[in-house]
Amino acid sequence: MSHLISIVTENLPMLQVVLPMLAAPLCVVVHHRRATWWVALVVTWASFANSVALARKVYLEGPLSYFVGGWEPPWGIELRIDELNAFVLCLVSAICAVVLIAAPRSFDQEVESDRHHLAYAAFLLCMTGLMGIASAGDAFNVFVFLEISSLSSYGLIALGPSRRALSSALRYLIVGTLGGTFILLGVGLLYMSTGTLNLVDLQQRIPASDGHRTIVVAMVCVVVGACIKLALVPLHGWLPDAYTFAPSVVTAFLAATATKVAFYVLARFLFSVFGVASSIDRFHVDWVLLPLALVAMVYGAAAAIFERDVKRMLAYSSLSQIGYMVVGLALVTKSGLTGGIVHLVNHGLMKCGLFLAIACVVLRFGSPHLGVQRLGSTHLDRLRGLGRSMPWTSAAFVLGGLSMIGVPATVGFVSKWYLVLGAFEAGKWWVAALILFSSALAIAYVWKVVEVLYFADPPRREDEVGEAPWWVLGPTWVLVGASLVFGVWTAPTVRMASAAAEVLLPALAGAGP
């Protein structure tokens, strides 16, 4: 028995990736709607426990290296877990675990019943990909896992009830493939000029090549590729439609994980692989990223104000929030990076909660299978007076919205606090001002929904609906609750984020919080 336990504990880094990967074909074989869900549920929760245990280990003992099949790095595949990706892994697996609880009820409504097992399989594959990206220790596997997660997410989006889900998935497929190709190109160029794919080796060899033209092109390719997956304005074109037309649960899952992992890739390559000396000091990537991020921050929030479909509004709000994260990265200060990384988790929690609240609404408003309709079930006008008929869902939405604004005692405040601190550290007070401005815009779009929920009269009597089932409401409240808890009890998230920031900016360690 103890032998078994030691096998498990030794293989933790691999298990969290392999478990969902093996479970995915199992789902297809099992085929039964509820049974596949059980398989997926057990696997995701096991992965979640796994990544928490792993994170604990990393914080106590330092970074871990795992050699797949016992082959050592230059030849074999390495999984490397440090403070940064342990944090990302925790987020991804936690979101998967929580979202999956809500999945069956929501899928019943939005996905044809003979495709549930495929949905779960794709879900698990996507999770495999995301976990893989976050734990891979070499550049090529980052690409491989990126493709796994991307391909399965195209499938997930295409499962959406409206016919436009297909076209949005297709668009995402083409654009996502472009992004993937760029990353592959970059990885290839890196291999060509350094002769290695291992991230740590790359980190050591790149400075020696001293801005070799091939490496510079590789950097551009990787950054553009990551920004596409990250949906940084102006490369965000795929995102609003994909989030709007995917099944609600899938949207909640992808919004909280996929872009976050892309952010991880960007940060990892810029700061660790290419190194601050090359990417920032020499080629000033931050000078390009910072304006784009600021535009994203303001544009996303402004666009959200004018959007009448709540799901789409949240998608635009995601663009804005992605902007915050990249701002944190592009400030290149300890506090800023801490803010960006902590926002990665914080935004994951609150946006996932908000999208699940939307899932509750969709669940209650009958079938959205009507396809392209004038008033989708998430249109603002359908939410009139919902505060009375669905008090819990509405309250969850309001709390998530408060967090989105950055009201104190919510996670949104914690992130913005560090971002603003970082802006001042970098001597860029105008960035701080723009962050506050964008928060003010967030008040506008959140209030717009609150007004409709609580102050508008329900349109017709027969539209009176009951509260959503607790199977969906529960996970919603878990996430919303988490976004309040971590807004007050900031120690765990901030400490993990600042440790991660230290990994990325070792030179600046000691400065900041």
Binding site: R171, I174, V216, P234, H236, G237, V288, F306, A409
Partner: protein, 583 residues
């Protein structure tokens, strides 16, 4: 021994219990409404007179409870006001309104006993978000004066300004903390505020918004007349006086408060003369009273601070009584517009008498609570040799008589009218009981000032009833009354008129939006290069922004794969150009 009850901040029983009221109905709701403030007061009285509770959360040293002499003044009167207002509101069957009112009172009390700025901030914002429901709630009795749409918008403006005050406060706290300063809420600045650090100025501004400084005051006159007939009674007691407490605690002796306070005592007088809505007159009058307190705090001597505290104490009671009597009129008649009222004395004698007691108190007639408290501020100004300030305050005292002392009771209860009031309902027993109790308190304080001074543990001996003071004050008030009579007789006194009186809020309700519209229209003409397109573009300023940021906007061709691919290519090209340029 420190039990958990001792570490429980005063007022939290109301703040949390108020939310529980949401679950109650009927008798239980009424019971809870009155019992909660009583229990909360009992809890406060059971705590030691000097008492501090400390707590460390996430590295912040918080002081959720700090009880001392100054805070106790507000602790007492806030509870009195909460209990009286609760009794006054007993007949209303609206649990949202009751829950909001009690939670509001509770957080105001808790704010007063906050020993650090973070705790203060939390309660500061809680009072904002709870009190707005007193403006938004339905009130079937006041339908004529409270158009739902207008109340909603006024509430929204109120909420925005109140929350903004909290945000400014928070910004100040963050700045101070980032500078390595502590969080203690005590003596934040004194003397010249303009040379104080930025954080102190921000905190001062935050307090000033809620204390209705000139140009920051309009939320008061905008929102309070739109509260429900019981809600405004609650509103009048807490928010502004909490701000006065905060100023007394943080900015005693700040010079700027003196001119600000004087300005606050003066300008509302003139607006009050011509305002038709009597509850709005009271809102202006409230602003004027806050001015007296600000002057006292600005002078900053022990006598002046004591005067400000005593004045706040007495003021909360008589101002609540004035709003109670106007609430009773609103309940009975359905409106508080002076043009619609008059001659109600016969039908509502109790209300009329109580209103007159309050009017006499606010005008500071001898034997009323105003006389024994307000004069301290004037004496302090005189002792500080501030002749001009003293004269202007005296001027303002005559002004108070005009709008609160004469105008309110006269136009509501005495002015002749052709209307027949015999059919209107008299206010229910609980409203009358609350009014009579408050009136007795106003008179009691006036007759036995020593009891009040001892109760509030004042450190300086002050004797209001000197022959000169009594005679002088009576001269001032009665000659002014004679002037009123004379003006009425010669027909010079302005008649009440239905009107909207513009104040500074015109800037943000009319001028700025109109100016913005114009700017946007102009620029849309510019952008679209042509009159024909301009016609389409000028419909609404927002359309223009939408065109740039809305779905499928010009900024990004998001809908087509071709568009996205072009952007990707552009990004790649720019990226490559960038690095090779730097290469």
């Amino acid at each position: 021994m420190t039990t958990w009850l001792q570490s429980l901040p005063p007022g939290v029983i109301m703040a949390v219990g108020g939310l529980l009221l949401l679950a109650l109905r009927g008798r239980a709701l009424q019971f809870g409404l009155v019992v909660l403030p009583v229990v909360s007061y009992g809890h406060l009285l059971a705590l030691p007179a000097e008492h501090v509770v400390q707590l460390t959360i996430m590295g912040l040293d918080l002081v959720p409870v700090r009880i001392d002499r100054l805070a106790m003044v507000w602790g007492h009167v806030f509870h009195w006001a909460a209990i009286l207002s609760a009794v006054y509101a007993l007949h209303v069957q609206d649990r949202v309104q009751h829950a909001a009112a009690i939670a509001y009172a509770g957080s105001a009390v808790a704010a007063v006993f906050a020993g650090d700025l973070v705790t203060l901030f939390v309660h500061w914002e809680l009072t904002a978000v709870t009190s707005v429901f007193l403006i938004w709630s339905r009130d079937d009795r006041a339908r004529k004066d409270r158009d739902p749409e207008e109340c909603y918008r006024a509430g929204l403006r109120y909420l925005i300004i109140q929350v903004a005050s909290g945000v400014v406060l928070l910004a100040g706290i963050c700045l101070r903390w980032a500078d390595g300063g502590g969080l203690e809420f005590e003596g934040l600045a004194t003397g010249d505020i303009t040379s104080a650090p930025l954080w102190a100025q921000l905190v001062f501004l935050a307090f000033g918004i809620k204390a209705a400084f000139p140009f920051l005051h309009n939320w008061l006159q905008d929102a309070y007349p739109r509260g429900t007939h019981t809600g405004t009674v609650f509103l009048s007691a807490f928010t502004t006086k909490m701000a006065i407490y905060a100023l007394a605690r943080g900015f005693a002796g700040t010079d700027l408060l003196v001119p600000l306070g004087v300005a606050m005592t003066l300008f509302p007088i003139f607006f009050a003369v011509i305002e038709n809505d009597l509850r709005k007159v009271l809102a202006y009058s409230l602003n004027n009273q806050l001015g007296f307190m600000c002057v006292g705090i600005g002078i900053g001597t022990e006598l002046a601070l004591q005067g400000a505290a005593g004045h706040a104490f007495a003021h909360i009671l008589y101002k609540a009584l004035l709003f109670q009597s106007m609430g009773a009129v609103l309940w009975s008649v359905g409106t508080c517009k002076a043009t619609e009222l008059g001659g109600l004395f016969k039908r509502l004698p109790v209300t009329a008498l109580c209103c007159m007691v309050a009017a006499a108190s606010i005008s500071a007639f001898p034997l009323t609570s105003g006389f024994v408290t307000k004069s301290m501020t004037l004496s302090a100004a005189a002792e500080g040799h501030m002749t001009l300030v003293w004269l202007l305050l005296l001027f303002a005292s005559a002004g108070v008589l005009e709008h609160s002392g004469i105008k309110i009771p006269y136009f509501a209860f005495l002015a002749p009218t052709k209307k027949d009031w015999s059919a209107i309902e008299r206010p229910p027993w609980n409203m009358r009981a609350a009014m009579v109790t408050t009136a007795v308190l106003c008179l009691g304080i006036g007759v036995f000032p020593g009891v009040l001074y001892r109760f509030l543990d004042f450190q300086i001996e002050y004797e209001p009833y000197t022959a000169l003071h009594v005679v002088g004050q009576l001269q001032l008030l009665l000659f002014a009354t004679a002037a009123f009579v004379w003006l009425v007789r010669i027909g010079a006194y302005p008649h009440e008129k239905r009107a909207t009186i513009l104040d500074f809020d015109w800037i943000y309700r009319r001028a700025l939006p109109a100016g913005w519209d114009r700017v946007v229209r102009r620029s849309s003409v510019f952008w679209t290069r042509g009159g024909r397109l301009a016609e389409n573009a000028r419909q609404d300023g927002l359309v223009w922004i939408q065109r740039w940021v809305g779905d499928g906007a010009a900024l990004t061709q998001t809908r087509t794969i071709r568009g996205i691919a072009l952007w990707v290519l552009a990004a790649l090209a720019v990226g490559l150009a960038w690095v090779f340029w730097l290469h």
